[in-house]
Subunit: 316 residues, 3 copies
């Protein structure tokens, strides 16, 4: 795994990756996927590397996924979260980040509620930065694991029709997926209530639908977005029942998609709101495959930004 | 440590273990006990295995004990707790567990406030599950470490008289201990106020006492249960002082037990409530031995559910 | 790194260290500093040792620093913090500490809001104790990293004039630094409002100033203390703006110090309160060097209290 074409120090978003970059990550992830199936799920690749999981927003799955990914590569993984952190003592994001940087990590994995936080931090630190979700901007490893999951189940991404359904406006998952899927040659549709659809989203190369049925028609892949309950308080949806009635993905609506369409969700699921339980647990759901893929994609991301350089290899 | 008779994939409770199973764990724990005394407290046994400490109830000692146990066996240990977890985003227990399972751990150690949670999760996941306490049901590793501690100090368990004192009704520790001690041949007495004694407890093969003095008489072992302060708010005890007066274990009451009786407590102690400080810190207290034994028992439990199988050994 | 003159089992404070002890730690830290610059930032020195980070006060940087230090020495590091700990169930500090001790750690790193907590715990446990800050008493590793940073930038400490500015009364950082700097031969000045200056501080061998300008004059080093916002609520300062006006370190005040004076701060900084942003980010600031030094000093401290003894070396 020593030579690859990935030339970025950071993984900040999908937007600035080339199609080749994306494929490099997906191909490497495919090879890492197997490690998690072994009795001994560990390779020494990142031994002696320090990965800081810097999570300023609550998250189980993403933090845990990066932690397991790092440890399976033998990195030292250190979790830093907002509770109990200096941030609560009024320190700025940059000061906290520079402090962590001064501890000489190899990678800072950052999740933050502000769009652009990862990019901002990356301009100052010496280490690599991986964006684990920044506000409503990007969540690149989520899109990569989604693409990996699609490729695994469909054999390809080019030419597929992918429907992304729900709160597109507030979704970094949608944004990163649109970039990734478009670069890989899929046709992307987005569907949701007008109040949850960002103005000008068409410019990202997607087709917009305000009736979910139209978006689902003959789709190969349905990506269901999580509906934040706060949207109701914000007045953007009448209530979750109403939302579910018009945009929830249930088995009858899913009939409109191709017979072999797969259903995805970034989790955690609001069962009965954006996704009916029988679909979530049904044969077309690949939601748990996404989680498994997540470990492999994050191993690939950590490897590509922090793995041994060719010089290090030569020195051995 | 390659061959043993333990055939369970999970450790969910003591009730479904055979006497042989219990002895297998205790004997293995005795061998692991020594590792924690070495200058280099680490063996490579579980290298490359992933243990997720999934704690949905606050706990220092049990979580820390499993974490240290896992690390001394060279496993990768990942902590997931309720604060900052998806659970607070409304995800179901099963969804969270299945997500963790999809990350391909070898073991999920679970603590949860609902009785049956560990059993429930174990029916769905591919990995092993160790119950670290589920509601008022079972806390098997606590009972095992208690038995290990008794055996160390008394040389045997068969034929001993063990008095369990306190809030038996709400105690998973009591329940697991009754199962374990009965299977190992001890006579078990339980004592506590009527309001804290479960109906039909006699059917578990114990003698019930409502005067603690009667239960203590000639006992070899006294297991003092923690009194949750909430019991007062529940109206189950008048107040903690009153409780202490009638059921607290102090040095004068302890005179009723055998001269060489030992005193145990699962911790954390409410000093002056269920246990007087001079007893907790006295020569008969083996409370800190229990903690040391806990590491060894948890190493044994992790090893038995996740250790190398004979096929893996053969393959080496 | 096998022979050294450091004979203490614990690191509780600077007050009870000799000048030789301090130099031993600083010299060892200098050697460890290089490890964090390597591609493979890890040495096997403390493999199989257990370090418990027992933090009863919120802290990002100190906890993270000790965790990284321990992991770069290959120790197993376990974090125990107040949230989710038995302490919140009413357990005493000593009971929690003795429980941790019974898990056979090699080192307990303790941070606690009570002065004397580390010393207290050290009298009971079998393992080594490192004080990571106890109330208003001492924070020895902070002083050591400060001294290391000064020595790196100034080449020496003897004969330097060091001004410590701010809330001296409530600062364990000030107290530990005064001890360390005096033992190493520096002249130490303290400056701050009368309400934040402890009575009798002169007996520690420092000069007291109530006008910060007088303290800064010809200083080689300026250590700016963090101002806790609570001081305003306590009525000890009128408000933070007023404090800043009279005691804040800004570039015009810094002109009074030597032209090559360096500025330090233990972090987290209240920008615009005790320290102006242009100074914090300016060429004289060595604040981030302090953080880097912190890892090295904590590696040295962990090594000296828990590293291989000469017998262990002989046995190999």
């Amino acid at each position: 795994m020593t030579s690859h074409s990935f030339q970025h120090r950071h993984l900040l978003g999908i937007e600035n990756l080339s199609t080749d970059d994306i494929l490099t990550i997906l191909n490497l992830a495919d090879r890492f996927l197997e490690i998690s199936e072994r009795p001994i799920k560990k390779v020494p690749t990142l031994r002696g590397k320090t990965v800081i999981n810097f999570f300023m927003e609550a998250s189980t799955r993403t933090r845990t996924s990066f932690e397991i990914a790092g440890k399976r590569l033998s990195a030292d993984v250190i979790n830093v979260s907002s509770s109990g952190s200096s941030i609560s003592k009024g320190e700025t994001l940059l000061d906290t980040a520079m402090n962590l940087n001064a501890m000489k990590p190899d990678v800072i994995v950052i999740r933050h509620s502000s769009s652009g936080a990862a990019q901002f931090v990356s301009q100052y630190v010496d280490c690599s930065v991986i964006n684990a979700g920044d506000g409503m901007h990007e969540h690149p490893t989520q899109a990569l694991l989604d693409c990996g999951t699609i490729r695994k189940h469909k054999g390809r991404i080019e030419g597929l029709t992918v429907a992304i359904v729900g709160d597109v406006a507030h979704s970094r998952v949608a944004r990163s997926n649109i970039h990734a899927l478009r670069k890989l040659g899929a046709q992307v549709r987005v569907a949701g209530p007008m109040t949850l659809m960002p103005v000008g989203i068409e410019s990202m190369g997607v087709k917009v639908f305000y009736r979910v049925e139209d978006a689902l028609k003959d789709a190969d892949v349905v990506i269901v977005l999580r509906l934040q309950k706060e949207r109701q308080e914000d007045g953007l949806i009448p209530n979750t029942r109403e939302y579910s009635r018009y945009f929830g993905i249930n088995s009858s609506r899913l009939q409109l998609a191709k017979p072999d369409a797969i259903v995805m969700h970034p989790g955690p699921i609001n069962r009965g709101v954006e996704l009916a339980s029988d679909v979530a647990d049904g044969t077309r759901s690949v939601i748990l495959d996404q989680v498994t893929q997540g470990i492999a994609v994050r191993m690939a991301a950590l490897y590509l930004v922090a793995g041994p350089t060719s010089e290090e290899h030569d020195a051995r």
